[in-house]
């Protein structure tokens, strides 16, 4: 049984692929509706209700993951900007020049700063904490953070794809059970008409 843990591989040697991914249960694919209902011991309405609930749960998880994705997508450009500044500072230091920069003091009000030979930078770590690092250390830390953020984003995107696949499977199953039910009623009606 080939467990597909990468986000791109969907095909597996069994029709079900992975049973779950990072806490998200996989939707089981129904080969035949009648067999499924008989084995589960459910009537049509209960089965539909169960699947609808599953669909809602999937949607809730999707919203959470989308929020996380937005966060990460905002964080990555931030880290890149920080890296840009550190690089500029290092370049200026190499030239032996001071960096003159205009920065926003308050809304619409800017002030000028002259940054002399700077060996260190302070990095905002969040939670009201700011630490001083040497330029090289800062570079390493920022690059590591950037890599981690990108890797997390990739995993998250994989999770979302998996989740959407399960939603699609569930929706299709709901439609099939519904149609099967319609088919059953029609054939019952036509047998009643014939007798």
């Amino acid at each position: 049984m080939a467990a597909a843990t990468s986000s791109s591989a969907v095909a597996a040697s069994t029709p079900q692929g992975v049973p779950e991914r990072r806490g998200i249960p996989a939707a089981s694919f129904v080969e035949d509706v009648e067999t499924y209902l008989r084995q589960a011991g459910l009537d049509v309405n209960s089965a539909l209700a169960f699947l609808q609930e599953r669909l809602q749960q999937y949607k809730m998880v999707e919203m959470k993951l989308l929020a996380q994705q937005r966060e990460l997508q905002a964080k990555i450009p931030d880290i890149e900007k920080c890296l840009g500044i550190v690089a500029t500072l290092q370049a200026k230091k190499a030239l032996g020049e001071a960096l003159i920069a205009d920065f926003e003091l308050s809304e619409g009000i800017y002030s000028r700063a002259k940054i002399e030979d700077s060996d260190s930078v302070c990095l905002w770590l969040g939670a009201n904490v700011m630490l001083e690092y040497s330029c090289d250390e800062a570079n390493d830390l920022l690059k590591k953070n950037l890599e981690n953020a990108r890797a997390s984003l990739e995993v998250l995107v994989g999770d979302l794809q998996f989740l959407r696949d399960q939603q699609t499977i569930t929706q299709v199953t709901i439609a099939r059970i519904f149609n099967w039910d319609v088919h059953q009623r029609r054939s019952k009606q036509s047998t009643i008409k014939e007798t």
């Binding site: 080969e31 920069a101 700063a113 299709v172 029609r186």
Partner: protein, 126 residues
């Protein structure tokens, strides 16, 4: 989902995988549309910046890095801007190519799925 008349073809695991793949491609297509819009805006902004630079005749330009405007000599700024424009153009091209590829794949899948399910499936945008 479409309501069938109860006589449509059976859905196999392969069909389900095709439907899933179509769903994924469709999602990616929508994301790409947004990304392309942003990339086009970025390209235009860089163009405008380039034009402003040509008009400006000062030696020192305030170049935005992060939240601050660093004073940089005109030549450096021009070089950096050129680099940024090149990167942005390449990114836009890459996104457009991906979009084309996705549209082609979606068309293929539509053929397969409509071929099997005809009216029982709806793959169009609402």
């Amino acid at each position: 989902m479409q309501q069938g008349d109860g006589t449509e073809a059976q859905v196999t695991w392969e069909d389900q995988q095709n439907i899933n793949r179509f769903g994924r491609l469709n999602n990616r297509f929508h994301e790409l549309t947004d990304e392309i819009r942003l990339a086009k805006e970025a390209n235009e902004n860089l163009e405008d910046a380039g034009n402003e630079l040509i008009l400006c005749d000062e030696d020192v330009v305030r170049f935005q890095i992060g939240e601050v405007f660093a004073h940089m000599p005109m030549d450096d700024v021009e070089a950096r801007l050129e680099q940024m424009k090149e990167d942005a153009a390449k990114k836009l091209e890459r996104l457009e190519e991906e979009k084309e590829s996705i549209l082609a794949q979606m068309a293929e899948l539509k053929k397969i799925l409509y071929g099997k399910f005809k009216d029982a499936i709806n793959l169009e945008e609402d």
